[in-house]
Symmetry: C2
Subunit: 344 residues, 2 copies
């Protein structure tokens, strides 16, 4: 908490400076420079534009926001921006915001619920146009959070949740269930009959949906899910869960479905450590289609999620006045690769 202002430096030029330089009133300068409906005679307009250019004027967005009563920022809350999963979402959000001339402010929850509440509180102070929550993979929100969100939206802010929405929030979802059904079906279709699932904790919605969908699709195709191991969403959890699964013994030709690519990658590492060949011996599939999945060997079968598009849709939802929930959620595609070679 030690941020000193600069010592006496020449401040940035203000609108008044520009107006004076152009020999017009502040009102006229404002109308020329910052999108107003009223038009200004071309002679004046040119003088103002020239003066602004000359001085290198940029409108003070804070002042503009106070005067207009509405700011030009969108706030984005993510769990971890270093994770490409959230990075891609952020990328889409930024693109959407850019399109409508908004600026994106980002905050990182580190998956800590209290922190999340604090951050929302801070961000509220920016009076952002909208608050986009991509903070978790859909476990239930902390109680304090709902209260903050309520305060925000009842003051005219818009809340967009990625994943199942909460309360007032608009929600942009992904069809986890459908994608998993398709994956299960496709893998049963190429001959797999026995599968082990490595999932995140129970209660994490997206994981639950994927497990349920996969089971449904795989069973419908004639396969059987032997066991579900619960650990987490990341690489390390996948590694742990895989070791647990190996302890039960795994016949060749068994399929391991990791509830995310990271889990699957962790599982692959564990398999290799146990001297089991990934692919011909034990097949592995993931979910998310992260770039890494393409580069591991064998390349990972997975379900593609258009994350960038998801982020983009979130800004649309935040900005469009009339917006209807993307009914079934964004559609997902199964991507079959060498980690699940066709069987028999």
């Amino acid at each position: 908490m030690a941020v000193q202002p600069q010592p006496g430096l020449p401040a940035a030029p203000t609108l008044l400076d520009v107006a004076a330089a152009a020999g017009v009133s502040q009102a006229t300068a404002s109308r020329v420079l910052n999108g107003s409906t009223r038009k200004v005679a071309v002679a004046y307009r040119d003088r103002v534009l020239a003066a602004a250019e000359e001085l290198g004027y940029t409108a003070n967005l804070s002042a503009q926001a106070t005067a207009r009563g509405t700011s030009s920022v969108i706030a984005l809350l993510v769990a971890d921006i270093a994770d490409p999963y959230f990075g891609q979402i952020a990328s889409g959000v930024a693109r959407g915001a850019d399109e409508v001339g908004l600026v994106v402010t980002i905050a990182i929850t580190e998956r800590d619920h209290d922190r999340e509440v604090r951050l929302v509180r801070t961000l509220r102070g920016l009076r952002p146009h909208a608050l986009i929550l991509a903070a978790s993979r859909g476990s239930d929100p902390a109680p304090g959070l709902l209260q903050e969100l309520e305060a925000f939206s009842s003051a005219g802010g818009r809340v967009v949740a990625l994943g199942p929405g909460a309360g007032e929030a608009r929600a942009v979802t992904v069809d986890n269930h459908g994608g998993a059904v398709a994956l299960g079906g496709a893998l049963a279709g190429i001959g797999y009959r026995r599968a082990v699932v490595l999932a995140a904790s129970l209660g994490v919605h997206s994981s639950d949906d994927r497990v349920a969908g996969f089971t449904e699709g795989f069973t419908a195709g004639g396969g059987e899910v032997l066991r579900v191991h619960h650990a987490g969403y990341n690489r390390e959890s996948g590694h742990r869960a895989m070791r647990a699964a190996l302890a039960f013994g795994l016949e060749p030709g068994t399929l391991v479905f990791g509830v995310s690519d990271m889990v699957a990658v962790g599982a692959m590492a564990a398999l290799r450590e146990a001297d089991r060949a990934v692919g011909p011996d034990i097949a592995v599939a993931g979910f998310d289609d992260t770039p890494t999945g393409r580069d591991v060997s064998p390349p990972l079968t997975t379900v593609h999620i258009p994350l960038e598009e998801l982020g983009y849709q979130a800004t649309r939802a935040a900005v469009d006045h009339d917006w209807r929930h993307v009914a079934a959620g964004l559609e997902l595609d199964v991507v079959l690769r060498a980690s699940t070679p066709p069987l028999g």
Copy 2:
């Protein structure tokens, strides 16, 4: 450009509302709620705090910024937030900002110079405390950019550049050269004698430094750099450059040094397509130590860059009043893995 304000909703409570509810003046409320040096009698203070809590008050940061003449945001410019390289940097920046109670606003250049200039212009409007540039991997800045930066810093803003600084900017650098020397030395040390380098375009500073450093270290250790192929920094460039290198013919036991992990990963893919075994036949090394490098097989030898720390140092540089350039740049570590097995 179509962002309508909300229709007549109850606005967020203002400081005046709180003051009224507490039965004190606005000045007193301000002093209680937003860090002032003056103290307020405990009886008043409690009433104000209670009222604020009751109303769910949050200071309007825009108004605060106009009044104080200084805002609480740090602006961050990255090339591509979906790229974990920048994601990690952003993560460090966010942590640093959080520590001093600042908020991070992010913009994405998409590696487009004009866009970058436009974005700086927009961000300037926020009158941010500092502007952190992580927009490129250090190719030379566009001329218009320098002008914008000059305007910003001469109005009291601070500019921090990651990589070689420009003009007024403070710079946080990474010892690319030193890291590459160490890598070259280590690989010569385990028996490699012939190397091919896959680099980005000439003129991209970080790439040039890495090539020069590697050559220096490798030669000093008794090795010889046969050729340098120039393509780019990403996976696809690595793939292309590797194909070009293969066209020249490559003896077993040759080492391929890709100037980034992504380049190396692309090279590995090209090698596999050409039925050359990575490791025993052709060794591959990268630079950056991205998570993917650990999961490809064989795991990739590389140089670890503390990117998160780099981002963190950037905020420190932005915030600390007296700050000295981290002299030689952040130190890098060589990480030897199975993609470069000891030779002979």
